[in-house]
Symmetry: C2
Subunit: 605 residues, 2 copies
């Protein structure tokens, strides 16, 4: 267990005053969603960077349950903020480029109106008289602040966890006021498991004898209950793997921390420390208020309800989850993505591989992926995205990382053929899109809607850099998130031979696309037949260059005749068959099953 393990990435690192905080106060009544109202509201916020003349470079950052307005340090002497990794000059949310605003939430205890604020009715702290507030109320106050700052449309709203739910609310309830939404490690509503943890945390506070029905100000406060709630939170922010790494090797060598909590085990001393520190800076009533806002947030349970909830959105979306996050598990980000796809909204999605759990979005570990995705997404939201490619980017017509792509060489015949097969106004879904080479070309034309599906996260980053919409998915798992006939064309270029579940992938592409375009290497090609018949060796198609039979990405081997039989068996209509000899760069009319190395078929079910 290292020193660093005793600082929490989710914590505000200092309870000092916030010297750069600004205050905006407005008179009410401010009507709340649950029926109550507040006579006046104060918002404490911090800003970074400069608002440009067009006032169109503002980014609102929304904090999570225990955060505050101090998202990053303002200068070298300032304390680091809770998202120091992401926000600052030259960082993914680049304060040299954008005007960043981060307000403390309504109901908080770090300056904005909350339960510890004086109730104008009696001059005493609200305590438990503070009304129930929702994510909608929190965002409503943020919107007033944005008005106050003279910003009509935010370039983006960005938030993780509870802040991600604020982002969702902005995008769906104030669609005209944001160009982009970055929703990180969040969910359309908490899982019942997550809800259960919050319930227990609140029970610990509410049943602490010092809680005194919330009127504990000026006396002993319910520090035991609040500390227990916080300890619980910490377990849920970390993955099991992360806890193992931090605490397992020396589980009995607890660090000495003076605490009235159990400090027997290494992890116990950590929890005791975190619990004790938290109660120094956080108010139990705010914890109750904000955790209830989190628990009440609900965009719907069913796919239908979710689709309805996300329908009003008009902005572009970047949704990010982390593979080991079990508090806001990836399938919930996928639900957001599915709801957006159901509405034909522009969305990119990546489930970033990480061992860091929910905390991953606050840490440096995976920032090369998630941070750069944010940066690229934001750049492409700008009215005139910078034209020069990102220094790390590859040539858009080249393919990296994705060995099965058709686009290994420029100006190939099969590449041209696919482009010609796609009417210029068609909507196109590109399965296994790699770096987005096809979509990048298509975007020069008038296509209604272009979208890619890809598994590799670096390839997804490239797509986002090109301003393309791409969602992460494993084709073998199907395309449940897409509706029947949602695209005019679904393209599967030299990918079919790499998927195990061929039937499912084909069925799905023909369900989602009115037409499917499949290209595949033809095992019947004369040269390949000869390899087996004469040399007694497993045939190797050209796309397998550099591979052997035992490590090729290809796991299905078939000829044009085999493929035709499958289509016949399944009752698929083949509208067009094109056979190519790409080595000779020519179309094949005569005996394609022998003379073509690549086949292209336009299908429908």
């Amino acid at each position: 267990m290292s020193e660093e393990d005793f600082s929490s990435s989710d914590s505000v690192r200092s309870a000092k005053e916030l010297p750069y905080a600004q205050t905006f106060k407005f008179e009410g009544p401010f009507e709340l969603e649950r029926g109550d109202s507040l006579p006046e509201v104060t918002v404490v916020y911090e800003t970074y960077g400069e608002l440009n003349e067009r006032r169109d470079n503002a980014i609102l950052v929304c904090h999570a349950l225990s955060g505050d307005s101090h998202v990053a340090a303002h200068d070298e002497d300032d304390d680091p903020g809770w998202w120091e990794a992401v926000v600052g000059p030259g960082k993914p949310i680049d304060t040299d480029r954008y005007f960043v605003v981060c307000p403390n939430v309504l109901g908080g205890c770090r300056g904005s109106t909350g339960p510890n604020s004086a109730n104008p009715a009696n001059g005493q702290p609200y305590g438990r008289d503070f009304p129930v507030v929702t994510v909608g109320d929190i965002v409503g106050v943020q919107a007033r602040l944005v008005d106050h700052l003279g910003i009509d449309q935010l370039l983006a709203v960005v938030g993780g966890s509870l802040g991600g739910q604020m982002t969702i609310h902005w995008a769906t309830q104030y669609p005209d006021r944001i160009a982009g939404a970055i929703a990180v490690a969040t969910s359309p509503r908490l899982t019942s498991q997550g809800l259960a943890f919050d319930v227990i945390g609140r029970n610990a506070i509410l049943r602490d004898p010092n809680f005194a029905n919330g009127q504990y100000y000026g006396q002993e406060s319910p520090t035991v209950g609040l500390a227990i709630a916080r300890m619980l939170g910490h377990i849920t922010y970390l993955s099991r793997e992360a806890m193992t790494q931090k605490f397992d090797a020396d589980r009995l060598r607890a660090r000495h921390v003076p605490s009235e909590f159990e400090t027997k085990f290494s992890v116990g001393s950590y929890l005791a420390y975190q619990g004790d520190r938290f109660v120094e800076r956080f108010d139990a009533n705010s914890y109750l208020t904000i955790s209830m806002a989190l628990d009440l947030f609900d965009m719907g349970e069913t796919p239908e309800k979710l689709a309805e909830s996300f329908a009003p959105s008009t902005c572009r979306w970047l949704v990010l989850s982390f593979s080991s996050d079990w508090l806001f598990p990836p399938f919930q980000s996928q639900q957001i993505v599915d709801a957006l796809i159901a509405n034909d909204k522009p969305v990119s999605y990546c489930n970033v591989q990480s061992d860091c759990g929910h905390d991953a979005f606050l840490l440096e570990n995976e920032i090369a992926i998630y941070g750069e995705m944010m940066r690229a997404f934001l750049l492409n939201l700008e009215p005139s995205p910078p034209q020069s490619p990102h220094p790390d980017s590859v040539d858009p017509t080249e393919s990296v990382h994705v060995l099965t792509s058709i686009f290994h060489r420029r100006h190939r015949l099969d590449y041209q053929t696919i482009l010609e097969l796609l009417p210029p106004d068609a909507s196109v879904l590109d399965l296994g899109c790699g770096n987005g080479g096809l979509s990048y070309q298509l975007r020069q034309r008038e296509h209604d809607r272009l979208m890619g599906v890809e598994l590799d996260e670096w390839a997804i980053l490239e797509c986002i850099r090109r301003g393309l919409d791409v969602v992460q998915a494993d084709l073998n798992q199907g395309l449940d998130n897409f509706a029947d006939g949602q695209f005019d064309f679904v393209v599967l270029s030299r990918t079919l031979q790499t998927v195990t579940d061929v039937e499912r992938v084909l069925a799905e592409m023909l369900r989602v696309g009115k037409r499917g375009i499949v290209t595949f290497p033809n095992l019947g090609f004369r040269q390949l037949r000869r390899q087996l018949a004469e040399d007694g060796r497993a045939p190797r198609v050209e796309a397998e260059e550099g591979f052997k039979w035992y490590n090729t990405p290809n796991v299905r081997f078939f000829t044009i005749a085999d493929f035709d039989e499958l289509c016949e068996d399944k009752g698929y209509t083949v509208h067009k068959r094109i056979a190519l000899n790409t080595q000779q760069d020519r179309l094949i009319e005569d005996d394609p099953n022998t003379n073509a190395d690549i086949a292209i078929a336009v299908l429908s079910r």
Copy 2:
């Protein structure tokens, strides 16, 4: 949320007296592992079935944290026990066949000596003066009870969760006294995450003002702290999926339960109910005592330490985990299995697919697998296992469920050839062993050690019914749990073509086996060459009968020449090559790459 959701499988269902409980009391001092001692110890236990004349049909069942001696109902009028699904007449632990003993643990509060017992020193309840007890102490008391019952060797010790840790202790510290160990949903030591939950639960109790340093008997007890600890426990016993199924659809429609805890959400009303019920029947000091025993249990962190800890064991093992158990996650059962394998101990293992979380071992849902595995394992522990095959069993020479097995037909030439290649005294590991047909044949000979690896849980059940040792593993993930040269022979029969990571599987088999025997279909077989060269169709090997190119389990296609080249590239020595034409039932000497349909190679690295 159904009625049933308000009963917990982990709970003792009634706080009534236990009318069938028996008492055994012995005088001390009973020395404890942590240095203290008890002047006298009482054990409350229940028994089921009859001890036979040889006194060799006794099974000790160990309960988990909050269980007690009442493992099952004694008759129709009796309350159900905590393992009603598993223990009883005709059930997996068949009380018509076995004498089942279930004692309440030392430190408990259901009759056995614990913190609520009178301290002979002063006649007052021990309270916090009750010493720290370990799993070793609990087992020590159980051993005294077993002595008292006149049982030299238990047929088996069976336990789940904390009870599984007692089972581990029995097997490693009292090796002569048990013939078999069934360790279910348990671990060699708790994860740091699991430990953290226990720490928080204890903190909630210890910091409850009613705790009164443990001397709360006869006054208000720390019910809030204990209830909170219990609520936390409930989250960890259920999987996220199970909680979603129980509570998600009507999350806001909480059930009305009179409670001082929050009952706003459906899951909240469940937790409030469970917390309130638990404090009626359980003592907070026992909770502290037993959860600490659980937390202190530690067979070691590293594979080396674990191997050392399990070395003394001499019994046969059945280890079972459940895929969605995150409190005692499957990888920890795998650690137990690995430690046993490292010591060449007889062990079978299955990670049972389940959505039910840790609770799965108490529920009916997956009992057709885990219950039947227990039953089969116990039957094979008996001095003369019943000879008649299980009614559900298949003919041992037939293969079910495992499509890639070589043993599709009896008396095949390749089958005979493998048997002849294996010296009668060799130790053999059979990768992808299916129902254990090969091992079953080999067992008739004098093989030193036989073991199978299989993925399919139904096939594993068949192997266990045949009394074979089989562990579940995905060959693509390697064989990390086996040591270099641990077996004389590792057999991979008609399986290589189904694994994606051919290099790894081959390397692993030749690391673990002094020799490897591989059989595979030869893509170079004349008939297959013709299918491609003349018919223009993907060749289909015989083992793929019933499959098409798009759904065959085979994902690698190669000829004898291809395989030979791989061996050469890797520097493997081929000691023997045998080529067969199984259609004609003959050995092939001439041009095997053309004339053989099956190749057999004996290799080493």
